[in-house]
Amino acid sequence: MAAEMIIDIRRSFPSGFVMEIKLGLTLEASTVLVLFGPSGSGKTTLLRCLAGLDWPDAGHIKFVSRTWVDTAAQLRVPPQDREVGYMAQDYALFPHYSVKGNIGFGLGGLPMDQRERRIAEVVRLLQLQGLEQRKPRELSGGQQQRVALARAIARRPLMLLLDEPLSALDAPTRLRLRGELRSLLKELSLPSIIVTHDWEDALALGDRMAVIAGGRVLQTGTPQEVFSRPIDAEVAKIVGVDTVVQGHVLDRSNGLATIAVAQHGIKAVDVESVGRDVFVCIRAEDVVLERVGTGTTSARNHLNGTVEEICFSGPFACVVVDCGFRLAAMVTNAALEDLRLQVGTPVVAAIKAGAVHLVRRDAAS
């Protein structure tokens, strides 16, 4: 089922901040849309408007055949009637209810036996067996997240809204749960919208992404598109990673992984939790350019290519090298002159294996 979603809202805050979001989307059954942006960009407010917990001053939100908000028609559908699953940043589990009580909280309308059956189903799906009688404070961060997700999906919502689902977790748990969350979202086959300020979350979880800053949508596209081809300097600065390419792991030994990207085998420091399919992410500052034919260095990766594009920003220049994929490199203007780099110049891009960052990406999508 493809779900049409049209958002055109305006909301101003006492601080003077104005949010103006226009976004039209088609969300396929299991599409994950990531709302990405720095804190204070308005992405959480947008999510809350979708959940019915915040209200725009003007505009409308339509989801499939329903209108959720239309200020012109004085229409405001309350959160109770939207049939969305919403998960707040800190999970907002009810402290005086058990895990089972939390999951069954919204199932009051069902007869007892159906309710019990649905709770058992969701408990199994999120692997919460054995924890049913625990209170939220007796759970680990990862378990709390799973309970919150279970509660959100128990009512079979039409869409899932997750606000920073991974930010309350410590780093190792976060890495592990990121993969779990993606497989779960795919398994549920219902569209979801995730708010995050973490580019790794965005890459690992998103099928589509919208970059939001200053209360506006700056760019939409697949995460890889947005990361590799930001439409302007502002988006580039917000996403913070300059090169993102898809690859798959060829070999792993001695703590190094070799990833096939275009015709190259790029070496990266291996991360255990990373599967076979990965995104290779490289910051432009970490790429060293050499003229062809100069000596070897300690860098593990030497990629041959030609300069495709040069753009200047202050004392630095961003050089995009075509080496089978677009690789961005940040060099000083002085270095640019020393190397006499121009569009078309053949170069070797050197990257230390430690500067190549891998983000797990299951090929399920």
Binding site: A51, A88, F105, G106, G109
Partner: protein
């Protein structure tokens, strides 16, 4: 000891506390969750009995429920006798007089309930009313108990309002504090002392309960 006076007092305090549980909760809910700019007006009205001399409050209540006011006339026609100097009149006065002692603990407890929990409940399809009983009340149980107990205790010791509105009718409106006053007037110090000690001990036990409940509640539901 005047057991009739004690019974009248306990009955009055019990009914006042029960009525305030019912009346105070919606007022407190509105005070805790409303974003209206003029909320402070209502807050001030609720707090008035804290600072007003009981005689002043009693005077206005007496006028308001007396046979010369529309309210008083309506009641007299309905029931057959006027409100002042009856137990019902005294009950109305006590409810107004103890209103802040119930509403303020209720409202401050409601106010401390994490809004995000309520929002989570709404997105789970639970109405505001249902959310109130499933989340707000249990999570502010200590505040609710405190409000009920304090309004009970406060009514036990009221004097000025009783005198103004209820008078001093044995078995109907003669409460413990009036009884003590009468005994002292009659230079009957021993009887006054006994009843005073009874009131002192009762009030102390009630306050013990309030503080114990609050400690226990905080230990049971820590803020994470």
């Amino acid at each position: 000891m005047n057991w009739t006076a004690i019974w009248v007092t306990v009955k009055l305090a019990g009914l006042t506390a029960a009525a305030l549980l019912v009346i105070g909760m919606p007022i407190a809910y509105w005070l805790a969750f409303s974003n209206r700019r003029w909320k402070f007006l209502i807050e001030s009205v609720v707090a008035l009995p804290l600072v007003l001399p009981p005689t002043v409050l009693g005077f206005y209540i007496l006028v308001a429920i007396g046979p010369h006011s529309p309210l008083g006339r309506w009641y007299a026609e309905l029931v057959g006798h006027p409100l002042p100097f009856t137990f019902e009149g005294l009950l109305i006065a006590s409810i107004l007089y103890s209103l802040p002692f119930a509403v303020q603990p209720f409202a401050s407890a409601f106010d401390q309930v994490d809004r995000r929990l309520l929002e989570a409940s709404w997105t789970l399809g639970v109405s505001k009313f249902g959310t109130f009983f499933k989340l707000v009340v249990p999570l502010s149980a200590a505040g609710v108990i405190t409000g009920v107990v304090l309004s009970f205790a406060h009514t036990l010791g009221e004097f000025g309002v009783v005198l103004m509105v209820g008078g001093n009718i044995e078995g109907v409106t003669r409460t413990v504090s009036i009884d003590i006053y009468d005994e002292v007037q009659a230079l009957n110090y021993a009887a006054a002392g006994r009843t005073s000690l009874f009131l002192l001990v009762t009030s102390y036990l009630i306050l013990l309960l309030v503080y114990a409940v609050n400690r226990k509640a905080w230990a049971a539901w820590p803020q994470k």
